[in-house]
Subunit: 313 residues, 2 copies
């Protein structure tokens, strides 16, 4: 397999992307796992000299441009065809790589996923999954956290299925429980979207739907997959991230709140597109890149995309 | 003025409601402030004997029934006309009292507010305000937190105005800043509701609109009033409440997170109805009831309802 990494993406690139690659190589000796590193060749090559033990597993691809964090995604992808993100999607779409990882411009990663990799047949709206630390030491997957601000009930049903498959095959939860984020626990509660999505979720046999879940239950151990529109999910995720910042600023040392450090989860998957795409946090450091490579490897090992396709026939 | 309190509302009633009334009386000697206490007369009267220093300020009203927390609001109000909440709204609607406070069944309090007190002319949808502790030691008001799951852009504009007036006259913020909760900071971001509400908020001269605010900024010191639909607000509020529970469970002692104890704020106002109505948390104790009486007093002193009316002409 061949996993591609944008070496220029993230606030601490390329230092931390290089360290992350070395960390991965030092712990993974499987010679069938090759890495395609996309970035400025002059910055990369001194670190990956030919003759090095793992040099046969490394392919350097030069990218003369970088899409900066603040750039407009669609415009930047069009105007910078030689950027690491544009090249990454080009290689992925052409089948030359099997997965693509970047901690760069999130918007460009999403635009690339949707327009160059495209949605899997039957998936109306791809979504982004993100992790919520639960009080039992485990993690729930929150879908969608930002790709779809306005959703239809059928979209939420598809998010539930996409999230369930990810929770099962990548996060290793057996028969993951799915909950709908809502303002009350009973059926019939909530906004029109939730009221109409609830029966669709309840009737579907492909998911293990347990009903509504309220804001106060998000950190509890009630479900492995939380479903909501991307507007709600984005606000929940960013609010949770800010809690971690405050805990840090106030110098509170606590094992549970340390798990609100969203960097430790590596990156978040774009669910429902035809190839594995993983988006890292801007502040990603070596450990996060290592985790993202491992997640991409698992998505390929598990033939995760094929499993989604067979569930959306 | 005459402030009515449901003595049977809340998990620790009537012990804590009685203590709360005594706490208020011990700190407030203004003989023009009278309290109407509604509840089981046998439980109340031993605590408020005639001849007591403040007995002339206390009016006991017997209620032979109680609406329990789990009861269906509309049904319970209809079937229990002798309940403390039904009598409370009856007295308020008849002009015999000037404000009504209860920590009882929230749904019944809302139904009573909307159907017996009714919306102020011009207010399309009353809303509930709630408090968010900011990192600068101050508090922001979040509107709406649950009354309106589905909103139109004009509703959000009205929430902004109602919240601004409350922040100004009751929370004492000079020219309170209003922010729209959204998934990005730029105009044009977000779901259709936010995209269409933004220009309405921007153009309105009655409010000090500063633009969008993201989930990560909710605990920062960027605005005094946060506007969102009741679905989003409810999930944010309950999520924040759960953070406090976790901090308590993990025995973290921290001044800032102590302010996530939503009980310390007393109760939340129903904004946009014709009389002051304050809803307490089910777990309210004496201090919370004292705070709610003080808030009701301030709403009457400031002629808050009249100020709303003049802004909605």
């Amino acid at each position: 397999m061949n996993i591609a990494l944008d070496m220029m993406g993230g606030d601490f690139a390329p230092e931390e992307t290089i360290k992350g690659v070395k960390l991965f190589l030092s712990q993974n000796s499987d010679s069938s796992v090759n890495l395609t590193l996309i970035g400025d060749i002059d910055q990369m090559s001194p670190h990956f000299e030919p003759g090095h033990a793992d040099s046969h597993r490394i392919h350097l691809v030069h990218a003369s441009e970088v899409i900066e964090m603040h750039e407009h995604p669609t415009k930047a992808l069009k105007e910078k065809p030689q950027s690491s993100i544009a090249i990454g999607f080009h290689l992925l779409a052409a089948g030359k790589t099997d997965a693509f990882i970047s901690a760069g411009n999130t918007g460009a990663m999403l635009v690339g996923s949707l327009y160059s990799i495209k949605a899997i047949n039957g998936v109306a709206r791809p979504a982004i999954g993100a992790y919520m630390p639960r009080d039992n030491g485990k993690t729930s997957l929150l879908v969608d956290v930002g790709l779809n601000s306005d959703c239809k009930p059928e979209n939420l049903l598809q998010f539930a299925l996409l999230g369930s498959l990810f929770a099962k095959y990548i996060l290793n939860f057996d028969n993951p429980r799915v909950a709908l984020i809502n303002v009350g626990s009973e059926e019939g509660k909530g906004n029109i979207l939730c009221q109409t999505a609830f029966p669709l979720l309840k009737e579907n046999k492909q998911i293990n739907f347990i009903g509504n879940i309220e804001g106060r239950d998000l950190l509890m151990s009630k479900a492995e997959v939380y479903v909501c529109d991307g507007f709600t999910g984005n606000i929940i995720l960013k609010f949770a991230e800010s809690i971690y910042d405050i805990v840090q600023n106030r110098k509170i040392k606590d094992e549970y709140f340390n798990r609100f450090n969203f960097e430790m989860y590596g990156g978040v998957p774009v669910l429902g597109v035809n190839k594995p795409v993983i988006i890292g946090h801007g502040i990603s450091t070596a450990g996060a890149f290592d985790n993202m490579i491992l997640m991409a490897k698992k998505m390929i090992d598990e033939e995760f995309i094929e499993k989604i396709k067979s569930n959306f026939l």
